[in-house]
């Protein structure tokens, strides 16, 4: 006797094609909410302006290793803009767009990559997690946050992001499993930008999608075009709403492409074909949204010029603030280890202060 006992599928969603034309007739209201679309567009452009500047700062020795977000703007801003302030974001390390939307300042991002912990004490929601370098660990922090919200009866949602590479880590699967076991108000995004440093998506596993990892835990699992902000925002809104209503977690794979090197310490020309990158540029998120807005008649050259100027000024101001931040103190190496510094560390602190004299 053989019987099918469980069936699942993964759906793919896209509303704007790469030329910026609406496809199908299912587009969400956002497609016609030009004001909101324009504000998302502006943040996308500002984020890219910031990103280019950050890379330049690194190249000129004014910033440490920096992880660019070039090409991820629709994914990241789709995520950040669908959240409420009281929701909790557990990022990896390149979702600046999401964080800017939530109030993190550009200067704070620079401070962090400029080797200063104060960047993590940012102006975004105070409950948001810091940048997370140990890949995928943030998934479990988000799951813990979601459990905290649930136990306290708060209508808050935790949102987290991992990459295509990071999705291979057990932490991701344990978080999905926990989301299922505890019905957590949690949205788990996999930003599939095709590369984990030099390792292509195809080497992570041979499954058709990364979204289907959610099926392991019986969670709704979808794929969206991660370069289409209408799709990313729509998927996030739906998933966050479900989570807030107590209907549990969702896994969303956003398909995009890392247009930059992995970080400024990387040289992608060693391992990938420039032709592929060129091809990927044709799908990038900003020009398609601009084309759409222009076709709808709500955006034009002069608006763009205004925006470009505004973005450049904003970034310049942030750079100035960053470069003007004084060096941290010796004390700051010791004073945040514990709420109350223990006697042994106090002795080390005193010795360090003496040595620094």
């Amino acid at each position: 006797m053989s019987a099918t006992v469980a069936s699942y599928s993964v759906s793919y969603h896209q509303f704007l094609d790469r030329e910026g034309r609406l496809i199908g007739d299912q587009a969400p209201a956002l497609a016609k909410d030009y004001q909101q679309l324009i504000s998302l567009y502006e943040l996308m452009v500002e984020t890219r302006t910031f990103d280019r500047k950050a890379v330049a700062l690194q190249r000129t020795g004014q910033l440490g290793t920096y992880a660019s977000c070039l090409g991820h703007e629709a994914a990241h801003i789709g995520i950040g803009s669908a959240m409420r302030a009281e929701d909790c974001f557990a990022p990896m390390y390149r979702e600046y767009g999401a964080q800017f939307y939530r109030g993190v300042k550009m200067s704070e991002v620079l401070l962090y990559w400029g080797g200063d912990e104060r960047g993590n004490n940012f102006s975004g929601p105070t409950h948001d997690f810091a940048w997370c370098v140990p890949i995928a660990t943030q998934y479990l922090h988000a799951a813990g946050a979601a459990l905290a919200f649930k136990l306290r009866g708060e209508k808050r949602v935790a949102v987290t992001v991992v990459g295509d590479g990071g999705s291979s880590k057990g932490d991701v699967m344990e978080a999905m499993n926990a989301a299922s076991a505890y019905d957590l108000p949690l949205v788990m995004v996999i930003v599939n930008n095709q590369w984990a440093i030099s390792v292509p998506r195809s080497k992570q596993n041979k499954a058709k999608t990364l979204a289907q990892k959610g099926i392991a835990a019986g969670l709704p699992s979808i794929q969206v075009d991660g370069n289409d902000i209408i799709a990313t925002r729509w998927a996030m809104e739906k998933a966050i709403e479900n989570a807030r209503k107590g209907e549990g977690a969702t896994v969303i794979e956003m398909i995009t492409y890392r247009l930059s090197d992995h970080t400024t310490a990387d040289d992608a020309s060693r391992y990938r074909d420039p032709a592929d990158v060129e091809e990927a540029w044709k799908s990038e998120p900003i020009s398609r949204l601009r084309a759409y807005l222009e076709a709808e008649g709500v955006w034009n050259e002069s608006e763009q010029a205004r925006l470009d100027k505004q973005a450049a000024e904003k970034v310049e101001a942030a750079v100035k603030e960053y470069l003007g931040t004084p060096t941290p103190t010796i004390e700051s190496m010791f004073d945040y280890m514990y709420a109350q510094i223990p006697h042994d560390l106090q002795a080390q602190k005193e010795a360090a202060l003496k040595d620094a004299e």
Binding site: C88, L140, G144, D171, A181, P342, H343
Partner: protein
């Protein structure tokens, strides 16, 4: 007042904390209706419900990682590793996040969690059930490491650990879970997380130990007393931060020190204590500092485990060796 065993004092402290602070939750494998494989959480789910005392899927990384997330969001999770042999999968989240959350965010977020677990050998348990790797945690910045060795110290130290605003690894010496019962009033009095306990005054030699080896060390001290040798016995209790002042003060008096630990020798906590004696304590030393420790081997399966564990005989051997030195 009825006397309680160490494991019951652990339970009492958790119950007290659950009662006084609704941010406290207890989580782990089998901590719920089963009350934990050693009964350390017995009755807690019945009293506080399954939203406060929470069984988890079998996933240590998940338990540790979620605890970090919960703690950062204002809860006070008290998580259990079922045995210390299963804590290694948790180490990443403890070292990379629990110990760094406050520092990394300049105090914006913190990680007030307790990771408790039974540790140590000598109960005829299967493989991986007899670990003593406290040094691994003591080496991690931002983590307190606490080891009680009596019911009242278990109660007071665990309460303090749960109330502490930073992460604490709390190691329970399972070999003495049911040894040395004491009256322990459930008075909510905590003990300090940074001082040693002098269990016995003495003038000829200082014996320093912690956890279940307190038992053999006290026995050795008794034996020595019967031979006219006066041993001071110190229970370190708070492995990190380490209260070297108390130890050095004792050695100032006795001039001799033997450190007893069942952990592997290489880079253990005993080494840290001896290293401090070789520095700040050097001029008081009349004789070499001896370490009586487990071997740098795997803890053998149970037919041989008592050959691995430091014995009273080995402690006495070390003391005699340095007493011969004048």
């Amino acid at each position: 007042m009825a006397k309680v065993a160490l494991v019951e004092a652990v339970s009492m402290a958790m119950a007290h904390a659950l009662r006084e602070d609704e941010a406290v939750v207890v989580m782990g494998e089998d901590v719920g209706i089963n009350g934990g494989v050693f009964r350390a959480t017995a009755g807690l789910q019945q009293e506080f419900g399954d939203q406060r005392v929470i069984d988890t899927p079998l996933a240590e990384v998940m338990i540790a990682g979620m605890a970090v997330g919960m703690a950062a969001q204002g809860m006070k999770p008290v998580i259990e590793a079922q045995f210390m042999g299963f804590v290694y999968a948790m180490v990443d989240h403890i070292i990379s996040h629990a110990g760094r959350m406050r520092h990394r965010t300049r105090g914006r977020l913190s990680c007030p969690m307790v990771l408790r677990m039974p540790f140590g050998g000598g109960i005829h348990a299967p493989e991986h059930h007899s670990e003593s790797t406290e040094a691994m945690f003591a080496h991690m910045p931002g983590i307190r490491v606490v080891i009680p060795s009596s019911p009242s110290r278990a109660y007071g130290l665990l309460l303090a650990a749960i109330r502490d605003p930073d992460p604490v690894v709390f190691l329970e010496p399972k070999r003495i879970y049911r040894w040395g019962k004491e009256e322990v009033p459930d008075d909510g009095e905590e003990l300090p997380l940074d001082v040693c306990f002098v269990l016995r005054d003495g003038s000829d030699v200082t014996l320093v130990t912690w956890g279940a080896m307190v038992k053999e060390t006290l026995e050795a001290a008794d034996k020595l007393a019967s031979e006219g040798i006066s041993a001071e016995v110190i229970d370190v209790a708070t492995i990190s931060p380490l209260d070297m002042d108390t130890i050095i003060e004792s050695v100032e008096k006795t001039g001799r020190c033997v450190i007893v630990s069942e952990a592997p020798r290489n880079c253990g906590v005993a080494a840290e204590i001896a290293a401090n004696l070789a520095d700040a304590g050097l001029y008081n030393l009349h004789a070499p500092v001896k370490r009586v420790t487990g071997y740098d081997t795997v803890m053998p399966l149970y037919r041989m485990e008592m050959k691995y564990m430091p014995s009273v005989k080995r402690i006495l051997g070390a003391v005699n060796e340095i007493l011969e030195v004048s």
